[in-house]
Amino acid sequence: MNIERMTIEAARDLVARKQTTATTLAESFYKKIEAEDPRIGAYLALSRERAFAKASEIDRLAADGAPLPPLAGVPVGIKDVLMTKGIVTTAGSKILKNFKAPYDCTAVARLEQAGAVILGKLNCDEFAMGSSNENSGYHPVHNPHDLTRVPGGSSGGSAASVAAGMAVATLGSDTGGSIRQPAAFCGVVGLMPTYGRVSRYGLIAFASSLDHIGPFTHTVKDAAIMLGVIAGRDPLDSTSADVPVPDYVAEVGRPVKGMKIGVPDEYFAEGLDAEVRAAVEKSIDDLRSAGCEIVKIKLPSTKYAIPTYYIVATAEASSNLARFDGVRYAYRAEGAATLSEMYRRSRDEGFGAEVKRRILLGTYALSAGYYDAYYLKAQRVRTLLAREFEAAFAQVDAILTPTTPTPAFKLGEKTDNPLEMYLNDIFTVTADLVGIPGISVPCGKTRAGLPIGVQLLGKHFDEGTLFRVASAVEHAAS
């Protein structure tokens, strides 16, 4: 049984046809994790007890000939920023080293209700802050295509585990590109749904107006299946949208003839790696051959997205991470004489450098005298960005860009200069700021064998269009 590129459909089919059992499938994936993960470092914890309990439940249903749910027996991994009840959930941070989640994230619960088998918790940059998984409080993740390189971040473990066949699908989170960028670096599909499409209940918050939960999969169809399971209004998240969930899978493979695809100049400027440019331009040609009209569009405020993001996200993070004070849960510094000392030392000893840097930046941007110049200013620029996308989507159905300016870089290459690391997000942050959905699809490899991803951006709640166009790109690239 070749599990390396096994899709959701294939896994479920094997179980439904009794060609294998959910238990056997889980065992195969655990064996694969044992063999591969020491080199890759994708998993922080394995949840065998929970996995085999679910697998047995599915096996009983299958044996009884009962109807099987859409993800029956499908082995999945969960980014460690998502709460999994009874299982240690660290957000990639030492500050949460022994923290047992007291409840399940809604998206995780929905996957499990649909039959998915949760293999374990996936490594990530600490509190989802990073673009290379090098900020993990535990250990970095290695790109399965080249172990000397990063998988991307912050959902590096989620991307790498799918790429290496250590899970059929995974959940990650995206605040500035943390699903799409690692998907591109690892050669898998990564979807960031519209803000509010998927409940954020149970996602350890980084930036509440920018955080999204989304899947990593081998195929566009699998991403559509996953979204159908996790999407939808959740009374536990007041920002989750009361918008009906359509049949996303029905859009996969639909003809794209006559659709208008916008290509923005600003995303093809200097600094774009030549091989990335070539692969993405080939995808554009493929869509043209499939009957799409390629429209040049302008998104003039693109270069202001990164500074806007690093004010908004860090400001919101400084507020969200205030809860880590050593009082009710998480690391508490020993021997503190006063309450104040306990707060200050617990936080300084428990958080890593990047997290502290962002908390300080965000606090600064919100502080008296600077709030207008930074935070309020950034919120106004956010409106400008939103207007530009609205204008673009009046002309086109979807926007196509490279996902990242370069393929995966080497471990240690960008860790000395935070600003240089931040610039990796240049093509992905705008979508988070304006709340639109985005998907990264593998579209080729460099001569050295490194994956390249092409990004499609869509209108709010129009993931259907994204799946349709993305599957055309995927089909042409295969």
């Binding site: 409840y103 803000y195 509010g196 009710r328 709010h460």
Partner: protein, 108 residues
């Protein structure tokens, strides 16, 4: 934008972070560099532009103004089960079973 070590200390106090000396030095340098880059936002004229804090309320069915925009996020004022006490205490660093225990607050 030059951020001094004093600036870092002030902000670290606001954020309840006990920075070491070398951390403070490093942060002053990093923040200066990042804020210098962020200064490019001043190239944009945003005088008559509304701030965008979140997108969720844009998609609620009810498009009224002010706080009415958030009517969709309301629910009936009914008591529903919350996190059980035991679950809430299970990760406590120090507890007497009922309360979380912390060092005394000492007035300076």
């Amino acid at each position: 934008m030059k951020v001094t070590e004093n600036d870092v200390t002030y902000v670290a106090d606001l954020a309840n972070l006990e920075l070491t000396d070398s951390e403070r030095q490093r942060m002053a340098k990093d923040l200066s560099s990042i804020l210098g880059y962020i200064d490019m936002l001043n190239e944009l004229d945003t005088r008559d532009v509304e701030p965008l804090a979140e997108v969720a309320s844009k998609f609620a069915g009810n498009q009224s103004s002010g706080s009415e925009r958030f009517a969709y996020a309301m629910r009936a004022d009914k008591v529903l089960p919350g996190l059980p006490h035991e679950a809430a205490m299970q990760n406590a660093p120090d507890t007497d079973g009922t309360y979380f225990k912390v060092p005394k607050v000492i007035e300076k």
